[in-house]
Each structure stands twice: as structure tokens, then as C-alpha cells.
Amino acid sequence: MANHTIAHDVYVPFLEKKGIWSWLLSTDHKRIGIMYLISISFFFLVAGVFALMLRYELLTPVSDFVQPHTYNVLFTLHGSIMVFFFIVPGLAASFGNFLIPLMIGAPDVAFPKLNLGSYWIYLLGTLIVLIALAKPADTGWTFYTPYSATTDTDVVLITLGVFVLGFSSILTGLNFIVTIHKMRAPGMTWHRLPLFIWASYATSVLQLLATPVVGITLLLLITERTLGVGFFDPAKGGDPVLFQNFFWFYSHPAVYIMIIPAMGVISEIIPVFARKPIFGYKAIAYSSLGIAFISFLVWAHHMFTSGISDIAATIFSFLTFLVAIPTAIKVFNWTATLYKGSIHLHSAMLYALAFVFLFTIGGLTGLFLGALAADIHLHDTYFVVAHMHYVMIGGTVMGFFGALHFWYPKWFGRMFNETVAKIAWLFIFIGFNVTFFPQFFLGVQGMPRRYATYPAEFESLMALSTYGSWILGAGIFIMTVNLIAGLINGEKAPQNPYGSLSLEWQVPSPPPLENFEEIPHVTDWSYGYGKKK
């Protein structure tokens, strides 16, 4: 054990203080990050268990494990919790909080108290939804009207909870934007910023400006159920499709709120383990902003069969193809970064490579759904389910797991068992593909989503998918146990185990209370690996 008694610069790791209030009242971005990390991981596991139950029910074509209503409730909870409690706050709130000040050389975010407030609002939202579980909604996470306005399950509370969570998301985004604008260390110019920061910035803009629209939409749904307002009720002159327009105005950008931070993570992991400068820094940086911007323009591609006008469908299909371009550019640049590198297949790097591979599949299958004629056939089938999970698990969750393994030593000051981590990765990679790849075929064959029972002709592929979910579940279980075991008895982590040049690795592990003894002066970007000619 090191002796901390040396006079001047006493190193107090931020994890030093104990006791529940030292957490719940802490305005330290690293502690708030951990609280988010614990919360979102908890909800990820809970919603994951729901997913396993859903898949178990789908093992056979008939209802034998749960009844259709229960099945519908389960997929509603699985979707709502995964989306609003795990993946939207997700990387942004946990790793964003932890990393943004460290990476830009700041002692904390711009508004530390507001940051803590955001977390409390998040907790409040979870509390409301917890109460809503007394009579859980069966609407699906999309809350489409008129069903959501008429079902006799409790839609009001769960949407109110989501509304509250939205404010947490908005305030976090606001905080990060101001932090990135105002708190950068001297010399940390925009073009020296780590790409995770660019990604976080783009995400924050989306959180700030897309979330209020879903807020008001859900509020309108609540007033529809409580006050008898009829904007979405055809009997009162309203339009159910309007709800979808409003909902997707947020929820499509929300997809990018979920995925862009993961893209940022990948852009950090790959150069470190390839020991190469990131290829096409500016292209990756600006494509994050580009994706964020275009994401506002494509929402109705979720609605090609919903009864929107053909003109609107055509415009949105065209714009949808545009968003594929910046995304493709990123994939090419990540791949090119590996060229002539010195590649170390650390578990974090394996997750990063899995991300590139799976996200490519997710992105390419998106083309099917963006093309008007093809989408007519594939919409609301398992093809969409598979595509969405390839982007969300293959993309975001792989990025999340990669981030967990990559920054684990920095955050907690300990190491996990690398061999076990690799085994877990293998399970997750195989399990994921076995679960979701067959669903592309199911979708093409016409198997609709959200079916509690299904025609027998789909049984073999559905069963295969269920078996895959068991492998995936096992992988996540092994990974969780491994990471928790590392916290308890892992080796002490060195300051910079991978030789990264980014600022967060230049402070001790775990970082001290206010990050830097002295605010650093930045003179170069953080990707200067390799030998300059």
C-alpha cells in the first residue's frame, strides 16, 4: 500500500469517501457517473431478464409460458426500460459524466449541482415508473394512439415517468454542451478534442432539442386520457398518425442519442489498441454532427405503412439514405485505422471490433428499411426487430461493454480477469448473432413483430433465436460476475495500462477528487501514436 502522508500534493482518489450520502449528495461528476452506471446497468439486467422471458415464451408457437396479455406487458416493459432507463441515458450519462471533464482537462462539468439534480430527476422518473408497475401498460414502448389512449392498463403513470426522465436527459445534455464550450483546458482546441467529446457534443444537442418534443407528445397523451383532449382521437377530429409524427420526431434522433456515444467510444478504443492515429479525424468528428443534424430529418421512415402521404414518405426515404453516408464514412475510417497498426486484442478491443462488424450489419440492413418498396414488406416484421437489435446491441451495447472494459481500470483503480472477459465476449458475440441473425429471415418470410403466438411454420427459426438468447444471457452473466469480482479482488490498476495519450490516462487510477492537480496545458491531439516521418 502506498503511503499518502507526503506533504503537498496529497492524492485522494474520488472513491475514498464512504457512506450512502457521500454518493447521493455528491456533485463530483465521477461519482454521479458511477451512480448512473449502477442504475442503468441494473435496468439493463432487469430488462434483459424480461427479454429472456419473452424469448422463452416464443420457443413454441402457442402460449405456454405466459398468456398473450402478459406477453404484451413484458415486451412493453422490456422496450420501455431498455430505451428510457438504460440506453438513452446510457453511455452519455455514465461514461459521458465520467469522461468529459477528464478528457477536456476540467475539474468538473459546468454545473455540478445541476448534474446531481439530473440524477435525482432520473431517480424520480424510475420511482414513478415503478409505481406504474402496479398495472403495467401493454402498449409497446412506442405508446401508439389510439390503443394507448383506450387500453385500460396504466399508461398515464409510465408516460409521466418517461416525461420526467426526459428532463433528466435534457439537463444532462445542456450541462455537457456548456461544459464542452466553456471548460476546455488551455490549448484544448476543437480539433484536438478526443472524438468521444465530439460524439458527446452531438448527442447532447439531440438530447437538448429532441427530448422536449416527446415530452409534450406524452403530455398530450396524458391529457387525452385524463382531460379528454382529442388531438389524436379521430372521434374528436384528431389524427392518430399525428402522434406518430410527433413521437418519431424525438424517437428517431433518440436512436442517435443511443448510438453516437458508442461511436465515440469506438473511436477512442481502436487507436489505443492499434497504436495508430485515428484515420480521418475530421471526417469522424464532423460526421457525428452531420448524423445528429440529419437525424432530425428522417423521422417518418418509421411510418411508411402508417398512412402518411406518399409525398412525405418519398421525401423521408430520400433523406434516410443521406444519413447512411456519414455512418458509412465512420465505419471505413475505423477499419482504415487498423492498417499497419500494432493490434492488441484486449477485451475492450474485441468489443470495439465486434461493434464495427455488427454495426455494419445493422447499418446495411437499415438500407432495406429505408427503401420504400422493400420497407412495405419488411415493416413491423422481425426484420425490423433484428435490424434494431443489431444497431442497439451490436452497436450501442457493444460500445457500452467496450467502454466498461476499457475505462474500468481508470474508473475503479482495479483490473478484471482478462481471460474470463474474453470468454464472456465470445459467448456474447456468438449468442447475439444466433439470437438475432435468424430474425432477419423470419422478417423476410413475413413473421410480424409483437406476436405472442405465431404460425407453426416459423417455429424452427424462432426456437433457434431463443437458444441464442440463452448463450447471450450466459455471456452477459459471466461478464457481470467478472467485472464485479474485479472490483472486490482485482489487482491494483496502473495509471495508464494501455499507453493511451488521452488526458484521462495522465492522472492516477482512480482519478483524484478534482481530477487534475493543475489544469493541464494541451499541446497536441490525443491520437499521436506511431512514428512521424
Binding site: P212, V213, F231
Partner: protein
């Protein structure tokens, strides 16, 4: 704010100039969010106004134009006193600031009182949010706006109390200016609500 139980406050480490510009930028960002929160209602208004012009025309006459106009004047005046209050504190005039803030608060309350009479007149005539699409819009838009008036009043109340306590000076007055921005937004939204609902319906 002013949560004393927070273990270690980073705020003190921040350069005041950075803190000032950060707070202002933060508030502007929040106003952007607010605009899009109202945005859903504005979009709904646009669609249903275009779909049912007759309904909007026939029903908007039920609204009391005079009361709406009075409230518009009240809010614009409160914006004036708010802006003057910010200038006053930037010059270090604490007393003038307190008085101006108080007038702003009274205007806000006055707005609330007028709105109260308007709402009760509507209820008296059995007009409720579920009466028609137009009145749904009327109640939701003005209701959400009213909620913002109340939040604004709460902020102004805190600012007023702190001004009296002498917390703000020519050097440190960020909260007054930032709070003022919020109050102006309340005015800004009303500037649109008034003609949309009362005048052109």
C-alpha cells in the same frame, strides 16, 4: 439552489467570467428546449387550424380579446421592468433592482389573476379542455404557459429575496440576468399565443 450540504463545491474554482458566460449559455440552451416543448403544441395548432378553419374562427370569438390584450400589456410591461432590473443590478443599484423585481412579480401575479377570471368564465359557460380541438389547444397552450409563469414567479421570488439580502452586486449578478432571460421567454411565448388564440383563431 443554495444547497449547503453538498460536500465540496467546485463552483468556487470556476473563473467568474467563465461562470457568467456558462450560466447564460446554459439558460439559452434551456430556452431552446422550452421552445420545442411548446413546439408540439404550435405544430398541433398549425395542423388543426388548417384542417378546421371554421371551428377556429367560430370558437375564438368566445375568448375575451380585451382580457387577452390587457394580459399582453401586463407581460410586456413586466419584461420592461425585468430588463431594467438587470441593468440596475449591473450598475450596483440594489434598491432599484429590488423594486423593479417586485413590480415584475406583481405583474406576473396580475397576469395570473386575469387568467383566473378568464378560465372561470370559460368553465362557467361549460367550456372545458375536451369541448373541442380549439379549446383543447387554448387550455393546453395557455395552461402550459401559465405553468411557466408560476415557475418564473418562483424564480423571481428567490431573486427578490436574495437581492434584499444584498447577495447581488455590480460584480456578481449572474442569477438576476439568467432568471431574467427565463422571464422574457414567458413574455416571448405569450407574444405568439395572444394573436394565435385571441385574434386570428
Amino acid at each position: 439552489m443554495g444547497d449547503a450540504s453538498v460536500e465540496h463545491s467546485h463552483g468556487h474554482h470556476m473563473d467568474p467570467a467563465v461562470e457568467y458566460s456558462s450560466s447564460k449559455l446554459g439558460m439559452w440552451l434551456f430556452l431552446g428546449t422550452e421552445i420545442l416543448l411548446f413546439g408540439g403544441l404550435f405544430a398541433a395548432y398549425a395542423i388543426f387550424r388548417a384542417k378546421y378553419p371554421e371551428m377556429f374562427f367560430e370558437q375564438h370569438v368566445e375568448l375575451n380579446k380585451k382580457m387577452g390584450a390587457v394580459n399582453t400589456c401586463i407581460l410586456i410591461f413586466s419584461s420592461l421592468t425585468m430588463a431594467m432590473g438587470v441593468s440596475a443590478i449591473q450598475r450596483g443599484k440594489q434598491k432599484a433592482t429590488a423594486i423593479l423585481l417586485l413590480i415584475t412579480i406583481l405583474c406576473g401575479l396580475g397576469f395570473g389573476v386575469v387568467k383566473y377570471f378568464e378560465y372561470s368564465a370559460k368553465f362557467h359557460h361549460h367550456i372545458y379542455p375536451d369541448t373541442s380541438i380549439f379549446f383543447s389547444l387554448y387550455f393546453l397552450m395557455t395552461g402550459l404557459h401559465m405553468l411557466h409563469v408560476f415557475i418564473g414567479l418562483a424564480i423571481l421570488g428567490v431573486l427578490f429575496a436574495l437581492t434584499i439580502k444584498g447577495k447581488f452586486t455590480a460584480k456578481y449578478n449572474t442569477p438576476v440576468e439568467v432568471g431574467g432571460l427565463y422571464w422574457h421567454l414567458v413574455d416571448l411565448i405569450w407574444i405568439y399565443l395572444f394573436p394565435l388564440l385571441y385574434l386570428i383563431g
